[in-house]
Amino acid sequence: MESSSPILRLDSVSKSFNGVKALNSVSLHLELGEVLGLAGHNGAGKSTLLNILSGVFTADAGNMVLGGKKFRPNGYADANSAGVFRIYQELSVIENLTVAENLTLGTEKYIRRFGLITPKRTVKTAKAFLEEFGLGDLDAKRGVDKLTMAERQLLEIAKALYMARLGKIEKPVLLLDEPTSGLTQNQVDFLEEHVNRLRQHTAIILTTHRGSELLEWSDRIVVLRDGRVVGEPDPKRTSPEQLAELMVGDAVISQHERRNDVVRSQSPVLKMTDLTVSGVDKPFNLDIYPGEVVALIGESEEKTQIARCLAGLESPISGTATLGGTKIPSSVRGSLKAGVRFVPADRGGEGLALLQSVQSNLSLCAIAAENRRDLARSPKAEKSFVTGLVTKYNVKVASLEQPSGSLSGGNQQKLLVARAMTDAARVIVLDKPTRGIDVHAKSEIFRLIVEASARGVAVIVASDEPEELMPICDRVIAFRNGQISAQFDCRTGAEPSLTELAAAIS
């Protein structure tokens, strides 16, 4: 680390909401060229800290110094002009424009000639800029809709740097908020490599829900808990487990018990025969037994395709899936009637009507597919049905009338899983159920999965993060190059190592 003073310093920064301290006298510093990892589960104060740095909130107390000057941004634009740029999890790139057009969007006046913008000049400017920052892999002429999520994330970062350049800020501070959420391992590696190239130009504060990533990317780590800094572990000497413990505090670490008593001699509940789906072109056979938890892993979207085929949202290219001996029709309603329940990855897009109440979201499937039309007719019956689900599965809601979109991501996910756990469910298929939710919510989701499997329901989880599923799953099916590459039996402590898993899919 250089001997010069840090580019950003926070001294005893505090912030309260309605008397609750979200940040309690937090002090930290950030050096030029380093990546500072910010760890902590939801509610620990990460978001509040990022919000204060990006000008969304102002601190109640404490000092911030940026590049030797007092820093107290009032609004996002103010933080930008001082040199702090936040890259949000929800990207704001515009899909129908090219990389170059996105980069220069809103700042066209700098590339205008005689009052006009030419595509050529736009591309030239963007290209030169991207190459200077080692981001030449991003083709300036390419449409954003053709970029991977990692490339879009990178474009967003490039855009921040471009704005900094125009604002004559030499060394901007970047706040990367969950940049890897929803990325596959390949994409994560791609992003990490490129972000590393930016080190000489910037200083970065990073948050991610994946502990192992945080340890790998960061030079230093600050752990927040209940609004305080509770530790600064050395990333090189800390395991993901130790980091998780630090985030959780003295809470008891527990483990879901794997179902070792799944009887494979029983007949399988779900049989996939000579199935091919988009992304898996070699026909495969897969039997799923009652009460089993099976993880599908792979680098690309083939696992999601399988999940969606089972849900009736996509049609398999060939082959069949039978449930209890009868073929699952390839329609959503047919699949629901057969007893398949699907929890989609895109919570807001396919799972919930975010502006509508918790109650109407929870009862919808029962009314539509489980002959519970009485729930629509009688508000009383509906209320008791929904209250039952919320209580049984411990979904934290202030009121059944609140819009589902006002719940935290973790609670939204619990809502979806609770909805899937009906008596009519024989197979529950979850697509990336832990995406973007914190450690605690994850454990709750796992608890529900284990609970379902204890009832004899087969659970299939399409996952990007198989390591976190290890403690609860009975089997892992790995996909690579359009076919099943490996199967692991995880019962009785015979679980595969992370290296084995990684090798099976890459």
Binding site: V20, G43, D226, P240, E241, A244, E245, A251, V252, I253, S254, Q255, H256, E257, R259, A311, L313, V332, R333, L336, F342, P344, G348, G349, E350, G351, L352, A353, L355, Q356, S360, S363, L364, I367, A368, A369, R373, A376, R377, K396, V397, Q402, P403, S406, L407, S408, N411, R419, V439, H440, K442, S443, F446, R447, V450, E451, A454, M470, P471, I472
Partner: protein, 345 residues
């Protein structure tokens, strides 16, 4: 088997945390803003409802005469039915721009049917309206075309058919036994058509709030993809909603036929804009999934008060049109909750 059982060695695979940190959900800005907006909107609507009659009576005392009140109630019955017709599609995030044309077509057909088969044949217009609505719905949901364009197109087609079958001239309604059921008033005060409209409107409220199909209409408006994932038969529900709209329009056509005793092929044209305005004023945003039929009545009453008032104070027709157009935009501006809709295009 146990779950969340504390396990001894800390080096065992870490997965979870036992005691739940108590999540206090962030203060719900969406809800509180919406609640405040709802209250303001109600105040605004009720104020308009009360101020307009005072204003017009001040300019022309005839406004509150029994004759004019009767006429306003009859206008309300027709507009309320058109509002009812447009509500379900808008709740689904779709829109039906052909309501006016369906009213015209049904009125013309009813008059022609009565001419050929006797007055009772006007009732055949009801199943006809249902079929016309279903046709809209089927094109939209099974061929998957945007409702805006489909109903804009069919509104021209329906208007053309009305013109064709009527030959471009008003079709007189033959007299008959049904006239009494449409022209009389209850206790000599409340016109019977208003009772019919209110009954249908009440049925619509119950349909939307207390039946599975009604729920699905809300669910589709809230998030069509999520509705599908949950097993809602989206296409069928859409067709039903447009079909129900056609039925309401047909009744509106019959009412308007009995009140004017002759059907012109453009008789329903003037209802489209006020009906959409009344729906939006009633708190149902065009983005769908929220609101309902109940408050559409208030919007309807306000618009009837306004149009009737302008007529009675003798505003020239051109000025009436200008005022009505501006009032609709103003009403939307004051009542439309722009916060609850992310992007208004």
């Amino acid at each position: 088997m146990s779950i969340d059982r504390p396990v001894g060695p800390p080096d065992s695979t870490v997965t979870t945390v036992a005691p739940a940190p108590s999540f206090t959900p962030m203060p719900l800005r969406i809800t509180s803003a919406t609640a405040k907006h709802d209250r303001l909107q109600t105040v605004f609507l009720v104020a308009a409802l009360l101020i307009l009659p005072i204003f017009f009576t001040f300019l022309n005392p005839q406004y509150l005469s029994p004759g004019n009140l009767d006429s306003m109630m009859r206008q309300t019955s027709v507009l309320l039915l058109v509002v009812a017709a447009g509500t379900a599609p808008i709740l689904m995030g779709s829109i039906d721009l052909s309501v006016g044309a369906i009213v015209s077509l049904c009125a013309v057909c009813a008059a022609l049917l009565a001419h050929s088969f006797g007055q009772a044949a006007v009732l055949i217009a009801l199943p006809l309206g249902l079929l016309i609505g279903l046709l809209n719905g089927v094109i939209i949901s099974y061929i998957k075309l945007p409702s805006f364009l489909v109903t804009l197109g069919t509104s021209f087609a329906f208007a053309g058919i009305a013109l064709l079958v009527s030959g471009g001239f008003p079709v007189q309604l033959v007299s008959g036994p049904l006239s009494a059921f449409f022209q009389r008033s209850l206790f000599g005060i409340i016109p019977l058509p208003l009772i019919y409209a209110l009954i249908l409107w009440a049925l619509l409220i119950v349909f939307l709030r207390r039946t599975a199909t009604g729920r699905f209409i809300y669910a589709i408006g809230g998030n069509e993809r999520a509705a599908k994932v949950n097993g809602v038969n989206v296409r069928w529900v859409k067709a039903v909603a447009f079909g129900a709209g056609g039925l309401c329009c047909a009744l509106a056509g019959i009412l308007v036929l009995f009140s004017t005793t002759a059907a012109t092929p453009d008789i329903g044209n003037s209802f489209l804009l006020p009906s959409i305005a009344a729906i939006v004023m009633g708190g149902t945003p065009l983005s769908g999934g929220q609101g309902g039929a109940a408050r559409g009545l208030v919007g309807t009453l306000i618009l009837v008060e306004l149009t009737n008032g302008m007529l009675i104070i003798g505003l020239p027709p051109a000025a009436q049109q200008i005022v009505q157009g501006l009032v609709v935009i103003l009403a939307v501006l004051l009542t439309f909750n722009r916060r609850s809709v992310a992007i208004v295009k």
